[in-house]
């Protein structure tokens, strides 16, 4: 089902802002646009990695509401995260748009600083609910193989102030960041 409401477009705009402030990958922009309009993308991970290990992670979850009756799709295949084969870096100046959640902006700002501080490379991953092969083929994605060292660590939750459909979890590895 294709969702083309203004709200959906604003959600896409918010998610693209996260991309712009972090990995700056045009491919992820395209994946988000397609995945949110089709209602199949459930999680977007922005990761700080080193030596094929994930030491910092922003886990953005997307839930989809339809009219009065709401339903959530949750990604249940946590070991199948897909990512691009190579980074297509963009260098556009970040657009500091007021339609983006300022709390998220600040959290992302500190997250990127922490990753820079620990010399972590930023990369992304997505989790979809259904139509996996279609997404893989369409965007030439591959399975993420990095070891997630942020699993089973305490994560902070930062709700989006504009969209209840969006939530952000932030986790760090014990190895790099301690408690």
């Amino acid at each position: 089902m294709i969702r083309t409401s203004i709200r959906t477009q604003l959600i896409i705009h918010q998610l693209k802002y996260v991309v712009e402030k972090t990995v700056k990958d045009k491919l992820l922009d395209e994946v988000i646009e397609f995945g949110v309009l089709e209602g199949i993308i459930t999680n977007i991970w922005i990761m700080g990695t080193a030596d094929s290990q994930i030491h910092a992670k922003l886990d953005i979850s997307v839930s989809y509401n339809s009219g009065g009756a709401s339903f959530d799709i949750s990604g249940n295949i946590k070991d199948r995260v897909f990512t691009g084969q190579d980074n297509d870096w963009l260098h556009d100046e970040a657009d500091n748009n007021r339609s983006n959640c300022p709390v998220w902006s600040e959290a992302i700002n500190w997250f990127v600083k922490l990753c820079q501080q620990e010399n972590l490379s930023l990369k992304w991953g997505i989790i979809v609910s259904g139509r996996e092969q279609e997404i893989i083929d369409k965007f030439r994605l591959v399975s993420l193989t990095d070891e997630d060292k942020t699993q089973n660590t305490n994560s902070s939750i930062v709700p989006n102030s504009f969209f209840t459909e969006l939530n952000m979890g932030i986790g760090f590895s014990q190895e790099k960041f301690g408690d």
């Binding site: 300022p102 709390v103 600040e106 501080q117 930062v158 102030s161 301690g178």
Partner: protein
Amino acid sequence: MEDRTIIKRFSDTINIIAERFPHQHQWQQLKNKFEAEFGKQKDQAETASDKLPANDNCPCCNIRKRCGENLLCDECLKLYRPVNSSIIENICDCGHRPAGPEIFLFYPYGRSHSLCSIDCVKDHYRQLFGPLLRRLK
């Protein structure tokens, strides 16, 4: 939390209770006793709340520079809007009376949340971003 902040908060709380229950004289007595004992420190606390750091750092994030004449930096101003304290009838959402002519409204999550002073703005900011900030070197 610093001692002076604790004293100020306790003083605010006693004042509120004493006003709310004027017929229960023990609260007024406690208020008077507290003011006699800690009045000087309380005044110092209120003055200290408004004092800016010696450098140009934003007193909220304590990392970025303050924005011109504003008390806070650009990014913190997006989160906390300074407004005239006259909009508050009694106490702010942080549980204290306005500490000066300006209070701060945290408004991203719909209903705005009023904060009495820069001290409470700092506390609020650290609650929000503490897990990130404490990992910064």
